[in-house]
Amino acid sequence: MADLEVSNLSVHYKKLTATHSVSLSANSGDIIGFIGADGAGKSSLMHAIAGVIHFEGTVSYKGYTYHSPQECEKIKPEISLMPQGIGLVLYDTLSVEEHLEFFADIRDIKQDEKFLAYKEKLLHMSGLSEFTKRLAGNLSGGMMQKLSLICALLHRPKLLILDEPTTGVDPLSRLELWDILDAIRKEEGTIALVSTAYMQEAAKMDKILLFDEGKIIAQGSNAELIDSIRPFTYQALKEYREDVITFDKRSYSLAPLQAQVAEPTLEGLFFINALKNNKTLPPVEIGDKEQQESVPPVIMQAKGLTKYFGDFIADDHIDIELKSAEILGLLGANGAGKTTFIKMLLGLYKIDEGSLSLLGKDIKSADDRLELKSKIGYVSQHFALYNDMTVRENLIYFANMHKIPLDKALQRIKKYAYELGFAPYMDKFPTELPLGVNQRFSIAAALLHEPLVLFLDEPTSGVDTIARAQFWQILHKLKEKWGISILITTHYMSEAEYCDRVVLLKRGKKIADDTVANLYKAHPDAKSFEDIFLSYFEAQI
């Protein structure tokens, strides 16, 4: 029997079943990776195993079996859970040292020499030794996560449950977090259950569990999983076929294709799974624009844009240029200054220093923006929509605000609903829809007035791989058909592949700005964009 055995575990919420009788097992020293879309049941399973929510089924850990949070109490000293969200378990006004003392106290750890030596080791491993006096509120996102992790490790748990510890964290800190985890499980024999949104990270784990709709649909080591989908992966097809999903230079098909095979990636798992469930990607169509306008060659030019929040510099003299019909990716970890930058472009934040010109017009005050409003489309973080109105009502409302005549608006809404594939959801409320559908319909809302430029703030975060693939197809079609320019922010480094040019931000500073092709040329031995950005991050220290 394995050290950790989970059998037929189900978690129910009011109407929803988050996990359907899931089983898994793990041994000391294993790192088990959970991958899957938001809402696939990863967090629910983690919380159930950690004994913080009610569940059906059994969990047995080293021979002790529990069915409920009450029964789990007994082995809580062995368990540690780090919930999702950067710095969620930290207190902004306590220093690093005070955090360690606090967590040691609530865990009732004897502060003997052995503990002090262990604490020093953790601090050293996390690189926080020099920052023990710094308040948690003043740490970067990566440091916060490292502090959260060592706080979770203080009582030497043997079962470590980490819910997306790296989401939104910069690539270097992500590597460091991984190193801590790897060292601890070797030394302490800890079982680690880790969910992640990054496939490169999942690839390093001993076993990967792929979640979909509350079930584990595939599991195995990275190599096993990749082998399992190799027969279905081909070089990208040129033409569209209904039973084939083509994305990121690869085509996936269950039926044999007359095409060269390609080396699969873990992401392919999601596409193969979709194909097996007959959930093929509907083709995305973008019709021609109704009105044609002349577009200046440079859409947006920012020179030395700077934003201060008190003493904190959110954006430090950033120069960025967006050319006509270009998809520009603005990449960086959480807190790198991406959203602040977009908000300055839009006039939602005051520009403290620097100059900005949009569509050939210098922006000195809000008055300069008036005539530009009808040429800019914006999708904000988390898809801002009115939750008490249906999709149709939302779109009509936005069309009215854009002063589009009603008959024309209805026509366009119908067209987009069909083209972007949310027509079946028109009379539903946004809260009832999957995130991917919300994402497509918020982009429709931003396209109603046929803008010349789109600003998209983290439109892909939390959305599952399939929806993300579809979303990028929409963006590419838009560029092709409309000649639209797009500025998109994301913390997924791998999405840089789909942009024409990328700008990398690190803590308010621009550290890279080049076309995708040039970046690959400059780093011939990089396997992925992750590696390329890592080299920039390391060069900056």
Binding site: K343, L346, G347, L348, Y349, K350, I351, S365, A366, R369, L370, K373, S374, I376, Y378, S380, Q381, H382, A384, L385, Y386, N387, D388, M389, E393, Y397, F398, N400, M401, H402, K403
Partner: protein
């Protein structure tokens, strides 16, 4: 103008879809006001009186027969003063009367007669009003002959009816509370959800959006006021409306906007609905204290009297009371209209600057 109605009707639809919110509004403008008005009791009710009668009956029973329902429960006899004291101690009796053995004898001889009264003073107002009743009863027995008589003339509220007054005050407080909180919430919810940023980027003047959004909430409150007047104030409690109905509605509308301005101010400085709840209380309390709702303005210290000028509620209460009870003419109400409008304009100006513009 079209944008104004687009936003306005969207807000009304959103409101109607939120069933709990509609229920709260309906409750606040009907049942709540009824309870506030009807529940106001200064008269004693079901007071238990105990007595020890050593005088042998007659006069003592005559006095006791004056205590009857619904104010008093039929007085209970006790055998000794000790038993009565224990009953008061055990909260079985609120007021105890002791008739001494020489009570009736002395009274008949026109000597100084004494009736001992024991009172549980923890329920101060009830027992003290009982005492006042007792005084009145005894006065009826005394035939004092002084050539002086009080003839009072009740002005403005002829029935000296506390119910209608309390109900009206409750209505005014509800208007204040709901206009501030409803308005603050519609703005903060948009800020929280991120839709406010989208609104600012629409090719519509943000001032129009702000006005339309707050107008929708003022409209909801005004509809509630009509409901309250129709079902509770003017009918159930028969509050006199000596002035013009329309001047009250106009004053209410202006005041609604002024309170919505406070809501806008609250929304502008808070991040989420939680903060709105906290800030609304912190901001509204001084405004209500200073308004004269709880303490008449003339009874305040001179500093607070001056400060009360910044509370729009002050103008509204004074104006409404004048309309209802005094029947003041429209022209004489202008200072109240002016005060409410001026404060409203200032608050909107701040709100526009704080959340209603791009840079």
């Amino acid at each position: 103008m079209k944008s104004f109605f687009t936003v306005f009707s969207k807000e009304i639809i959103s409101f109607m879809r939120s069933i709990p919110l509609v229920a709260v509004i309906l409750y606040s403008f009907t049942a709540d006001i009824y309870i506030a008005g009807a529940g106001m009791q200064i008269k004693p009710r079901n007071v238990v009186i105990g007595y020890v009668d050593n005088s042998g009956g007659g006069l003592s029973q005559k006095i006791l027969s004056h205590f009857h329902q619904p104010e008093f429960v039929t007085p209970k006899p006790y055998l000794s003063q000790k038993a009565l004291s224990r009953a008061i101690f055990n909260k079985e009796v609120l007021v105890g009367l002791i008739f001494n053995s020489d009570f009736e004898k002395k009274y008949k001889k026109h000597e100084d007669t004494q009736l001992d009264v024991l009172i549980d003073a923890t329920a101060a107002s009830q027992s003290l009003t009982t005492l006042a009743y007792l005084h009145n009863i005894i006065l009826d027995f005394e035939k004092v002959d002084i050539p002086l008589k009080l003839q009072s003339h009740k002005l403005f509220n002829q029935n000296a009816d506390n119910h209608s007054f309390m109900a009206l005050t409750e209505l005014l407080s509800m208007i204040t509370l709901l206009s501030v909180i409803l308005t603050a919430i519609v703005f903060v919810k948009e800020k929280e959800d991120g839709t406010w940023d989208l609104m600012l980027l629409m090719p519509v003047n943000p001032k129009i959006i702000i006005l339309a959004k707050s107008a929708s909430q003022v409209f909801i409150v005004t509809a509630g006021v009509v409901l309250a007047l129709g079902f509770v104030i003017l009918t159930t409690f028969n509050t006199p409306l000596n002035g013009s109905f329309w001047s009250f509605m106009l004053l209410t509308l202006l005041y609604g906007f002024s309170s919505a301005g406070i809501g806008l101010f609250v929304a502008a400085i808070s991040k989420d609905v939680m903060q709105v709840a906290q800030l609304s209380i912190v901001i509204m309390m001084p405004l209500i204290f200073l308004s004269g709702a709880w303490t008449p303005i003339y009874a305040m210290s001179p500093v607070f009297q001056k400060l009360s000028l910044i509370s729009p509620l002050r103008y509204y209460i004074e104006g409404s009371e004048s309309i209802f009870y005094r029947g003041t003419a429209f022209v004489d109400l202008l200072p109240y209209f002016g005060g409410v409008t001026l404060l409203g304009v200032l608050l909107y100006w701040y709100g526009f600057r704080k959340i209603g513009r791009l840079f």
